[in-house]
Each structure stands twice: as C-alpha cells, then as structure tokens.
Symmetry: C2
Subunit: 488 residues, 2 copies
C-alpha cells in the first residue's frame, strides 16, 4: 500500500491515532488540522480537559503499542462516588472484579502523545492551521481556508461534530443522506478543584465523583497532578421555551381551549439564572455544599469558562463513494454520559483498519475482493465499514443519552443503588456475569449494539427484583443468576 | 398592521395562501419565488401533479373564500379502490358517512388560483426568478441569486424541503437547532393513464386507486380531464446497500464472526433493476396487469420522468428570533402517504393567522401581550406558533410514514379489510364514531397529535376484535362502540 495517499482532516484524538494505523500499513498520510500545533502553542481547547479511557480505547491503543505508555499517565477510577446534598458520600464500584475500572486521562496529553508517535513515521506529515472549509464529493478535492486544495486517493474526515466534509455530503454531495442533530436542553460548564499540598487529592482520588440532583448534576474526574476537573450539567434556560423537548402537548388546533403545559416559568435552576456571583454561590452552597470549600476559583471559573452545548449527531451513509469517509465524531457525535466518545472513535479506527487487512472481516455472500488484493477499492471498504459499524454507533449514542438520566437521577435512587450492590455481588461471584455498564466499558469483544440489547434485558430483570425486595441481603444470588442465564 | 412589511420566500401553495391571509390583515407582502411565473411559462414542476385536498386544507381555503371555487375543479374520491394482482377490485370507503371524502385537485391549478387571488390585493407583490440563496438570522436580510438583498420586518420561509432559510438556521443562525432528514429507501415515479373517449374515466372516477404489493405499490388519482396520474413507489436499489434502514444487525465488533444480513442481492424489485423497456414491461405485466392496457405511454413515461426521493424533515425551533419563521415543508416535510402535506401547510397558515388575531390563542400563565396591542412582536408570535404546532406536525409526519406500510401492505390483509368494513358500519351507525383516518382527514377541529393518540388506541382495539372474529357479521356493533367510548 506504499503508493496510496490518504488525507486525514483533523489531528484530534481519532485523526492522530488513525494516522499511526495507516502509516503502519505503509500509506502516505497527510493530516490537516484547523488549529495550530498544540505542542508548540496554547491552543484554545473548547473540549473537555480529561476523559475516561476504557477497554475499547485501550484495545485500539494496544495494537499500536501505546496502551501502557498512556495508562502510566492516567488515574484509575474504580467506581462512582455519589455525593448527597448533605455531603455524605458512597462509592458504587464499576465492577465487582479486579481490573475492571476506567482511567481518567488528559485529552491534551493523549493527543500530543499520539501526534508524536505518528510523526515517528516518515510517511506521515501534519499540516497545522489548515481549516477544511469545503469538499467536492465527486472529485474528492478538499478546500482549505488558506486557499490550498488537496486531492488524495481518499479522504478520511475526523474533523469532529462540525465536520466540513459531512456538510458537503449533507448539501448535495451524497444523495439521500440521512442526518440528524439533537440538542439536550442541558449545557455544561467546566470548573476546577486544585490539588492539595504536595499534589495530594482533596477528595477520593480513584473515583468518578457525582453530585446527582435529579434535574442537573455535577461530576469530577481526577487529574494526574492532584487536581479535579468538575463539570456542571444544567439546563440552559428556565422553562426552556426554545427547545422541542419542552413543547406543549396537543391543544385545540388553533390553541383556543387547552392550557399550555411547560409554561415559561419554572422553579428549576438553569444557566440563565446564574448571572452574578451571589446567584452562583447561593446555588453551589445549596446544592454542592461539600464541594464549595474545595473550589477557591469557583466564581471566576464560572464566568470565565464558556457554557457548552450537548448534542447527538447521527448520519448515514458515512462515505461519498470511495472519495471520503466520516469517522469518529464527524459521523456520530455523542453526549459524554457514557464516557465512550473517544473510546468509540478509537474503536472506529480499529474496525476500519481490520477491513484493510488480509481476508477482510466480511461475511460470505458479500462479494468484496479482499482488500490486500484490491487495496484501492476504498468504496467497498467504506461500505463494509458503515454496515458493520452503524448499528453499534447508534447503540452507544442512545445509551449515552439514557445514561444522563441514570447519572443525574437514578444514582440517587435506593432501588438503583440496591441494584448496583447486587450487580457487584454477582460480578464478585460469577465470572460470566457482566452488567450493562461492564459490557459497554470493559468488553471490547462485544459490539455496542449487543451490549445494549443484553444489558437492557438484564437491567429490567434486576430492577424488578430489587424493587420487590427492599433488603438486598434477602436476594438469593444463584436464583438471580439462573434467571439471567435463561435470558441468553 | 398597515405599516408592517413581510417577505415570503416561495410562491408555492403555502406561500401563496399565506400572502392572501397577511394581505387581508393589511400587511405589505412581498413574495419571492425562485422559479418563473407558472401562469406565463411552463415551469418544470418536479412535484406531484395532483394532490388530495381534504378538510384541514378546505377549512383554510374557506377562511379566504376560496373553498367552493377550488372544489368545483376537484374530483371527489370516496374511498380506496384496491387492485389485486389478478385485476380484481374492491372499494374500501374512507367513511361510512356522506360528505366525508377527499378531493383530487391539480397542484398547478390550485397554485395559480391562489396567486391570482393574492394579486387582487394592492399590498401583495410577487417577484419571480428570485432564488433565495442565503439569510442572515441576526439582521433578517435575505440574499437572492440575482444579487438582490431584502430586509423586511420579518421573513416567512415557505421555500420547501430544501429551504435556504432553514439552512441558515442550521449552520450557525440558530443555536442548538434540532434538525433531522430521513429518507425512505423507496423512491417514486409518476406515470399516466390518459382519458377515454370524450374525456371519460377508464377506471372508477371517484376513488383513489391502490395496487398494494407489500414491498412496493402503485397508486392513481383522477384528474378533472378524465386522466389519472399514477405514482409507482418502489425501492431505489436492490438490497439497498447505502441506506441505514438496511444496515446489518450487530456482529462481532471487527465483523469476524457473524454473517451480514441484508446482503447485497435480494429478489425484491427496485428501480435500479428496471433499466430497459423489457424489464419495465415484464415488471408491470406481472404486478399491475389490469393497469398496463390503460397506460399506452408507460415505457416513455418511465424513462422520461425523474425518479423522486421521499424524505421526512423535522427541525426546531422554527424561528430565528422575530426575524424569520419556517412554515410548511421548510419546517416539516412529510412523505405523501397520508395525503396531508398540503393540508398541513394550509393549516399552518390558519394557525399562524389565528395568533395575529384579537386575544391571541394562548393560555393563561403564558405572558404574551395580545398581538393586536403589540403587532410587531413577531418573536412572541413565532414562539407561540411553534409550541402549538410542533407536536402536531410531528404527529402527521410519523403517521405519514406509518401509512406507507398500511397502504402497501395492510390494505391487502384480510384482517385489515374486515376492520375497515367494521369501521364503515360504525360510522354509518354512530355519529360519534370516527376512524383514525377520519380524525386526521375530516376533523379539522382535532389537532393531528390528538387524532394520532386516539386513533392508535382505537385501531389496536378494532384489529384485536377483527383478528379474533373471522366473520365480521358476528361482531356486535353496540358492544364494540361501548368499548370505544370507554377508551375516551
């Protein structure tokens, strides 16, 4: 594949990892990045500071020998630490088994490591300050704001949720292009807990902290230096008049008879209420009293940091013939509540790479010449990739939205807490028991769609048992496990 | 409201009717149409030749005195005439009551009549060959391909499924703009049955004809001149590799173990198989043998007429502050299978107009100053409009897709046919019985979302009864009606 030239649009996490994978196959790889080189200059991030790296992402790093290097810089998180409004805490482990945990890692540190690794290959070139502003799906020519135009053998767009290549597909480049973008009524804001003296951690180091408050929540992930990055998830607007989530139920067709539910005024807090320091402090003192003393720059951070939006993007097909493929967030941006955005994008890279391998991973009856014999048949590779991957990225997108409601709401619910305790015991007792969370997070051998289907059936069963049995010590594990095995 | 200037983008059915409504309120109205004046030149339509006008559309025409004039040019259709593969026919009436029928009307004739009516007002001006290519959601300035720029008090975009104003909202004009476009794997092609001698109708005049064939179907609507316009609905591609509808169920994450369902080869017919005259004739002779003798230009029409796409577009919010509002297909394009696209757009106009009226049709607790006292508060009007209308346009969009499956599939099913017979008897016996179809089509007083909710509950009950009772003469009407009334 030495004579193949691939353009990658976007040197974020997915694009940088993809460059390594393609370079290892001997392809000539040019990576075009809209921003400057984050290794040389401070680049406005606009993205989360740390991320939860888990098994799907680790598996993709492992294939290029980057897993141990990266985990050495990560902070293991063994469970969710739930903070009640009165400041009590309770740890809900992610798994009852050793070795099943997630890892808080610096986005910037990981991105830089991947770029450095990619640049070890002579056949990889990074081009910074090159923003893709247009793409011709017929000719495969990409246009950059610098005026540069590039036509490679194919283009792989890892240019994120606002992908210029996807916009070209949407607006006439690909016929019958299915597309959706859906925004949550909630936004997010990043805040900060600094390290204690000597780089110590002021709250439990090895946990993902959650302050669940039903209609909103705050979380915190540890950083390697002893600090925590907090994220507040909160509605943008009180009563939310501009969102379709808040749209009224039916009335008379001319609106003459019934009342409009979801009137504009509501008691729920929202970003648009927190307009000055005293409103912010009142809100935090009331809702997160144990966190406030740990956040000396709370008010400054609150007004300095932007309020971000949370959206889900789905589309299909992901390819424009053999000229371009969307991969990662450009194809399927998800909300962050399952901690799988990066892990899913890394799995994308691993799946795509597998299709470039000797006999490609496709079934009989599907007449694709093996890619090694026909390495330039990008369209066939891209179609296979889309068919394999789409049900799984849809599944994680849906689970990520559902997990928002679990995190802000269910983690404070006694039945849910009993269910997590029961699951921990099952995992400690039965090697073949995996919670839905474990299947998604720790089972890189299971596609997301399979994890979702099995996990939903299992969850329904366990919630029923826990709702009916207030004292979980009365639940007979062998009986429960027999029911679960019967579901399979 | 004499000093208000409104720009309408698009002089199609919705835009032309809206111009009349706004002109009656004394507003100054400029209508910008991308194509030429269809009254003076042959304009490439690209849209269906005839449409089913029903009560929601008629109600909107009635308010501007256009209903009787238009119905005089329409052909009443009292039911669905089902054509079996062997050529037998069976009429399924739309209602058991007199006066509940739909009307086949010429799109062009109706559009011309509405433009002529609008032009009777001195305060309405049409501008043809003015294609809107951009819109600034901040300033409200619309740009046209002619180079013209226009800034009115507000813009109402009736520029259809490909709306330029909506694209401006999507790409940065409106924050957190929810948007989706979803394409059916089926396309459509219009065909023709000419009149018989002396303008006679060669098949039943007063019916909507359907040839349901499970995975595809043909329909025919009568024209005033004795001809019929047929539409073939058929998959674009065999096995449909590019659609997400055909995407495989989960496999191993690298695709190594399982087989891909929905392989590329399938026995279903599709447009991509009908590439020459003999393939087209073979297909029609096999599937629609009774229609072929009536279609002397079948092969020419098939290869001359384009194959259209069928998509659903949803978005929200529909307004950019008070600067612009999406209305009709630009806000909610639907598939044609409920015959409600135009009727819904006309209802949009009627609902919007009602909000410009004395005390506006909004509920207590929703602090909007009445529009008459504050006629320039377009943003408040548009927000009310969106909240009232969105649940209903979502409902008709979903019902239109669902009705595709009913028309091509269920109309050939004996249980479904018994259910329609039972419903006809109920409608003949009980003035308060309305089928779901009747609630959608003949009850302009019921919002679409209400019709959908009530209709679905009622359908589930009746299908259960008809499945359990093979001989419908054994069904006791009073017992059934008692069950239905209990549902309310």
């Amino acid at each position: 594949m030495n004579n193949l030239n691939v353009s990658i649009i976007g040197a974020g996490l997915a694009g940088s990892l993809l460059a390594i994978y393609l370079a290892r196959r001997g392809m000539s790889v040019d990576v075009y990045e809209a921003r400057g080189d984050m290794r040389k200059e401070t680049v406005a991030a606009g993205r989360s500071i740390n991320l939860a790296l888990s098994d799907r992402g680790i598996a993709a790093l492992r294939e290029v020998g980057m897993d141990e290097y990266m985990l050495a810089e990560a902070v293991p998180m063994y469970g969710r630490m739930i903070h009640s409004p009165s400041g009590e805490t309770k740890l809900l482990p992610y798994s009852g088994r050793k070795g099943e945990y997630i890892n808080s890692i610096s986005r910037g540190g990981l991105n830089i490591a991947l770029m450095n690794e990619a640049e070890k290959y002579d056949n990889v070139r990074f081009h910074f300050d090159e923003r893709c502003v247009g793409f011709d799906c017929e000719t495969g020519t990409a246009n950059f704001s610098s005026g540069k135009t590039v036509t490679a053998d194919t283009v792989i767009a890892t240019d994120g949720a606002g992908s210029a290549v996807r916009n070209a597909m949407l607006h006439g480049g690909v016929e019958r292009f299915d597309f959706s973008q859906d925004w949550l009524e909630h936004g997010y804001k990043e805040l900060h807990i600094p390290p204690g003296t000597g780089g110590s951690f002021l709250i439990e180091k090895n946990a993902l902290h959650i302050w669940p408050r039903h209609k909103f929540m705050m979380i915190a992930l540890p950083n390697f230096d002893g600090s925590f990055t907090c994220t507040l998830f909160l509605a943008h607007q009180v009563g939310n008049p501009s969102s379709s989530e808040g749209v009224s139920s039916p009335t008379d067709v001319l609106g003459r008879q019934d009342t409009l539910p979801n009137g504009r005024v509501s008691a729920e807090p929202a970003f648009d209420q927190l307009t000055d320091a005293s409103a912010v402090l009142d809100f935090f003192d009331r809702e997160f009293p144990d966190a406030v003393p740990l956040m000396p720059t709370l008010v400054e951070d609150f007004f300095h940091n932007p309020t971000g939006n949370l959206g889900t993007i789905k589309c299909f097909p992901w390819n424009a013939g053999g000229k371009a493929l969307l991969l990662g967030d450009s194809a399927h941006a998800v909300v962050p509540f399952y901690g799988q955005g990066m892990n899913c994008a890394f799995e994308d890279v691993r799946v795509l790479d597998s299709l470039l391998s000797e006999p490609p991973a496709v079934a009989s009856g599907y007449n694709l010449a093996p890619a090694q014999r026909n390495p330039t048949d990008w369209e066939a590779v891209f179609i296979d990739y889309g068919r394999l991957r789409k049900p799984n990225t849809d599944a994680i997108a849906d689970m990520a939205e559902e997990n928002f409601y679990e995190m802000r709401d269910a983690t404070a619910d006694p039945v849910f807490q009993r269910k997590r305790e029961l699951e921990t015991k099952l995992e400690q007792t039965y090697p073949d028991y995996f919670s839905k969370y474990s299947m998604v997070t720790f089972r890189e051998d299971l596609p997301y769609a399979t994890a979702r289907a099995k996990g939903n059936a299992q969850d329904a069963l366990l919630m029923k048992i826990c709702a009916e049995t207030p004292d979980s010590s009365n639940i007979e594990l062998p009986d429960v496990m027999a029911l679960i095995r019967k579901q399979r």
